[in-house]
Subunit: 212 residues, 2 copies
């Protein structure tokens, strides 16, 4: 965590360098995992591709699986801060939507990342344990942030967070499965609208069904 | 699938025997997995404990992992039929709640099963792949049934099913984590009420919070 009071240009450059190193290691880990399967990849190889020492690798990651499918703690902290910064009167679903899929974000790039991640895990179930731990961590951080921003009870917060993440999962999965034919942003809007409506069935009928 | 028109007492007895055999194999697989870890257990041992041949084992299961954490296809068919049988005017969330946690069911026994299953998978991540395939299968069957009962669009159905299953997961997890101090049925009621409300934040305040 950066302490704003003591941040100096040198510290800023050091932080940037750390972020770059972390990103290079994660990219190397992902690429090697795709090429040869996680089990055949060693920490030494990942470090070599990213041009750092194995010792440096362990400054950033606890294991090769962590480098392949872990979430960056700094990214989780950004999500937490972004969620807490949303206006208190905003519906938690809106706030979660805003933070998980920022309207000014590159949704195509996000979807590509998601697709690669899903494919990697699907092809290599040995990564599942680490992946699910990442998702639990994401749920925990988001739940804490939902509680922190409006002081709602934690059970409610856990439900709204899990529902939002699940809606994203279903939406991206179906968007991929149907050949990305619709706008992902529109599909996410629809999914969150279903949640906000209390999951009331949409009006059925020939017109509605033919456009589905 | 039992065909009612041709079912005879002998066929009924045969079906019952099959169900018993399947149950005995699954119970043996689960017990051995807990005792020694899934990797040290063989199909031969599971069959021996259930007093059938390894060949018989493969009439019921594709793999030992399937026996340990798969869902019985007959159970999934029961869920499908039960969901389709719910009144068409019933809110899909209500129908899913009714089917996933039947009001006349033994919720304590269900929770025990869930706890065992969760612990087994947590302790032995090699079972995760098969487990997640089971959950996907459950989602698929329930989604088809939601579409079949009222002809809503499939995307909506997938969202409502995933939200309902996620709510059950969060509820049972938190109920366990907090020492089962509250009624699981009440907690499930609360979770489904949150979903049905459109995930509107519950009214906060000292009273609400002290009872949370």
């Amino acid at each position: 965590v950066v302490d704003g009071r003591t941040a100096r240009p040198a510290a800023g450059r050091r932080d940037q360098k750390k972020r770059d190193t972390r990103r290079a290691l994660a990219a190397a880990a992902e690429r090697l995992a795709f090429e040869r399967g996680p089990q055949s990849v060693t920490v030494e190889e990942i470090a070599e591709v990213a041009q750092v020492s194995p010792r440096t690798f362990f400054n950033y990651f606890a294991s090769k699986e962590d480098a392949m499918v872990g979430f960056d703690p700094a990214f989780l902290e950004l999500l937490r801060a972004a969620l807490i910064a949303r206006p208190a009167e905003e519906h938690p679903l809106e706030a979660l939507r805003y933070v998980l899929v920022p309207p000014d974000g590159d949704v195509g790039r996000m979807a590509d990342w998601w697709t690669r991640r899903t494919r990697l895990i699907h092809d290599h179930p040995t990564l599942l344990g680490r992946h699910l731990a990442s998702v639990s961590e994401l749920e925990r951080v988001m739940t804490e942030a939902v509680v922190a921003r409006t002081d709602v009870d934690e059970f409610y917060a856990a439900i709204v967070v899990a529902a939002a993440i699940t809606a994203c999962r279903i939406t991206v999965f179906r968007w991929e499965a149907t050949g990305r034919r619709v706008s992902l942003v529109d599909a996410l809007d629809e999914a969150f609208a279903h949640l906000a409506s209390g999951l009331v069935p949409p009006v059925a009928g020939p017109a509605a069904r033919s456009s589905a």
